[in-house]
């Protein structure tokens, strides 16, 4: 039986390349008896889903950090100077 440490690594690797048959079998067998690694797998999927979504989320809802008034003014001035 593979250790939790090895399973946790394979769970991450499975997000970057397809696992081999042996690796998949190892993860499956381990997950049947280990709740911790099952939760870890779900958390990795959650982190992926959130990371994929954040750019669009901020774009669509126009929330998140904003340019400071100072920076906006500086950028505006530099555009004005360069419009030909």
């Amino acid at each position: 039986m593979m250790s939790c440490k090895k399973i946790a690594n394979l769970v991450s690797v499975s997000l970057d390349r397809p696992l081999s048959f042996r690796e998949r079998l190892g993860v499956l067998a381990h997950s049947l008896i280990c709740k911790g690694c099952t939760h870890y797998n779900n958390q990795m999927l959650f982190i992926r889903a959130a990371s994929h979504r954040i750019t669009k989320q901020w774009d669509t809802h126009n929330d998140g950090p904003r340019l400071s008034p100072d920076a906006a003014l500086r950028i505006k001035n530099s555009i004005n100077q360069n419009i030909s």
Binding site: K5, D16, N42, H52, I54, G64, P65, R66, A71, I75
Partner: protein, 187 residues
């Protein structure tokens, strides 16, 4: 086919969105502001070549994204990623006992879907990404936020093997998980 609007309106229309895009990736306010400025100035020069195939926002974001990738490439050339990994799996030994069992077994995160509905969650996520060691953060961002595959990332960040990239990604995700667990899920 779309047409460009008056460049004087670009900052009001897209400034905040471009800033957020840059800040999430470069994790430094001044640098992100400079990148927005450089992007708009580059767009000013390139506007005669705008073919109208994509929206103005998409076109500007594309220019900005090039600048972000160039920045990553440059900083990695100056400060290469340490690829000598202290343990087999890239996951801190502190998290596991000598037999490879969890020291603190992960438990379920309550209502993760509700997190997506809350503006504060996205700021926490960005903060946790920014707290990763810089090189791991950039690796993670290229993979999970920009969606590049590992081979492309190895070229940008000058990582010698895809295997090393997988190990480092595993470490980045593990650290990000720890951060979210403390800062969002309150453990």
């Amino acid at each position: 086919m779309s047409q460009l609007s008056d460049p004087n309106t670009w900052l009001d229309q897209h400034g905040d969105a471009l800033f957020r895009y840059a800040l999430l990736r470069v994790r430094n306010t001044t640098l992100a502001e400079d990148m927005v400025q450089e992007t708009l100035l580059a767009a000013l020069k390139a506007r005669v070549d705008y073919a109208g195939a994509s929206s103005e926002r998409t076109w500007l974001t594309g220019i900005l994204n090039h600048k972000v990738i160039d920045h990553f490439r440059l900083t990695h050339r100056e400060q290469p990623l340490a690829e000598d990994l202290p343990d087999d799996y890239g996951i801190s030994d502190e998290l596991f006992d000598e037999r490879g069992h969890w020291m603190n077994t992960p438990s379920t995160w309550s209502n993760p879907d509700q997190a997506f509905e809350q503006q504060k969650f996205w700021e926490t996520l960005a903060e946790c990404v920014a707290r990763l060691p810089p090189r791991l953060a950039e690796l993670f961002i290229l993979r999970e936020v920009n969606g590049l595959d590992t081979e492309e990332i190895c070229k940008v960040l000058d990582i010698s093997t895809t295997n090393n990239a997988w190990v480092m990604l595993s470490r980045a995700r593990m650290q990000l998980r720890q951060c979210l667990e403390v800062k969002w899920f309150g453990r």
